[in-house]
């Protein structure tokens, strides 16, 4: 978990610069048939189709959940007590929206989280605000509302365990978890 998280957060910075490139690349090679093979394929961490870039289902396959999670970036981090999405993460969410609109067989649950500095109830409500901010952003970029659902875990599921800002900043997050859609 810890390792994963550090990876993802540093990747967000690099992902930003490559994002446009990869989105364009995706758009360029979009072939309506190409994604059919992914129909009903397993959910998060699941199995991709054939014919993608790199090994099917791996992070280098742009249709794979692993690509969504690791290359686009599955999470947004927040300032203390805030739920607004900073420009840095708007581009991550633009990538998420693009991916979701391309890979229409997937649905997403957006999990909102808070750091441990706060009461349980308030943090549940704060996590919901964060998840909702991501949901609204994705909808504003064209993702169908029916494909998105939110849940808040408040401070119940930290990924970083220390009691310092270094960990808190990683725990104040909204994570978009994709899974194979009900429609498939």
């Amino acid at each position: 978990m810890t390792h994963n998280m550090n990876g993802a957060s540093s990747m967000n910075f690099t992902a930003r610069s490559f994002l446009l490139v990869s989105v364009l690349a995706l758009a360029a090679c979009t072939n309506p048939d190409r994604f059919d093979s992914a129909n009903g394929a397993g959910g998060a961490g699941g199995v991709g189709g054939t014919g993608g870039i790199g090994a099917p289902g791996s992070a280098s396959d742009p249709r794979s959940p692993a690509y969504f999670q690791q290359t686009i970036g599955d999470r947004v981090l927040f300032v203390v007590d805030q739920s607004s999405i900073t420009p840095q993460y708007q581009s991550v969410l633009d990538g998420q929206a693009q991916w979701l609109m391309t890979n229409t067989d997937y649905v997403a649950i957006i999990e909102g989280h808070a750091d441990e500095q706060g009461t349980r109830e308030y943090n549940l409500a704060l996590g919901a605000r964060r998840a909702n901010a991501v949901q609204e952003y994705l909808i504003s970029r064209g993702v169908a509302p029916s494909r998105l659902r939110v849940i808040s875990y408040g401070k119940e599921r930290p990924i970083e365990l220390c009691s310092d800002e270094a960990c808190y900043s990683q725990n104040r997050r909204a994570v978009t978890i994709i899974s194979a859609g009900l429609s498939s």
Partner: protein, 443 residues
Amino acid sequence: MMKRLLTLLAALLVFAVPASKAVAQSGPLRIEITEGVIEPLPFANPAFVAENAAATELARNLSRVVSEDLIGTGLFREIPSSAFISQITSFNSPVQFSDWRAINAQALISGAVSVGSDGSVFVKFRLYDVFAGQELGDGLQFNGTQAGWRRMAHKVADAVYSRITGEGGYFDSRVVYVAESGPKDDRRKRLAIMDYDGANVQFLTDSNAIVLAPRFSPTGDRILYTSYESGFPRIYVMDVASVGRRALPTLEGDMSFAPRFAPDGNTVVYSLTTGGNTDIYRMDINSGNATRLTSTPSIETAPSFSPDGSRIVFESDRSGTQQLYIMSAQGGEPQRISFGQGRYGTPVWSPRGDLIAFTKQSKGRFHIGVMRTDGAEERLLTASFLDEGPTWAPNGRVIMFTRESQGETGTASLYSVDISGRNLKRIPTEGGASDPAWSPLQR
């Protein structure tokens, strides 16, 4: 002599910390009750007389629990039996008050236990004011089962406490809480119930789903709590005896949490989040009909009824930070009651109606505090890395709460403190524990 002391004791119990001290407490914080400790009242509690052989062990255990209850309040000190001049060998023989005065026992408890042929247990006791040389109140007798012996001990201790302090007792009560295990990033949580002192633990749910913040019904027979068992946080109501449970109705996509019963036992007030916005609602638990009580884009949560059911205290960040507000039980314009530095959350109305307990966050520390219902006379009772979620003892004189330690190995424990800030102590639990809710006194 004892009367004077008792009056003093009662006075101290009612209001121990002068206003000036509350001010001092908001400075550099170190409130772990070393100041202003009152001299605990010395009592003698000779082992209860076993009136038949079957009662020998019970008699010993009962007197031990009675003493533990009293000592545990921080208001009493037990005189060791090695100091005794006389012994009590028969419940009805006259008491040699001079022997007890000589060792400065101000209160003397005398008890006896017998086990009937059907296995039922009889406990009787008398409380003496040693320096007045007379009984304090009448002798009392309880009967019950052998399995329920601890409750009988708690009832004796409640009677002693109540007669000496003038306050209601709280020992014959239970606590429902969340038992925790596993690492911080994969915490397992189960509902559990125990006696107020940590004995007789029973689990009410398994650890497959996160459960949060259980709350007793006014009669203690049902519990409201939040569970993720459906995949999303929803409120459930559980029957304590059968452990049967049902979810309160909610719409798909909504989250509901922070439930609490109204004094009528049929109305529930809670938070509902829809579209990212959290407001307070009330629901008739039988019909499932819900009414929205607040309607703002801010976070409104942690509602708690006044004991007469007419008002609700809750927290809101409508001002920009979490603060406490009171509104009518039907909703309407709320009145802000907290104005100090920092953030205030999880308000809980005292069962006596006089005080509101809360969690306060200030300068990176957490506190449990109390204030009058108009926000006056704020007093912080504790300070630590993370204290939260107060719950009141049935007599409104003691508060239990969650204290969590910091860092990667941080764990949650239950603590209690009295409303003057004295007698802070950990409630023994096996493994981690959080979100306590104190039951009313048992019947």
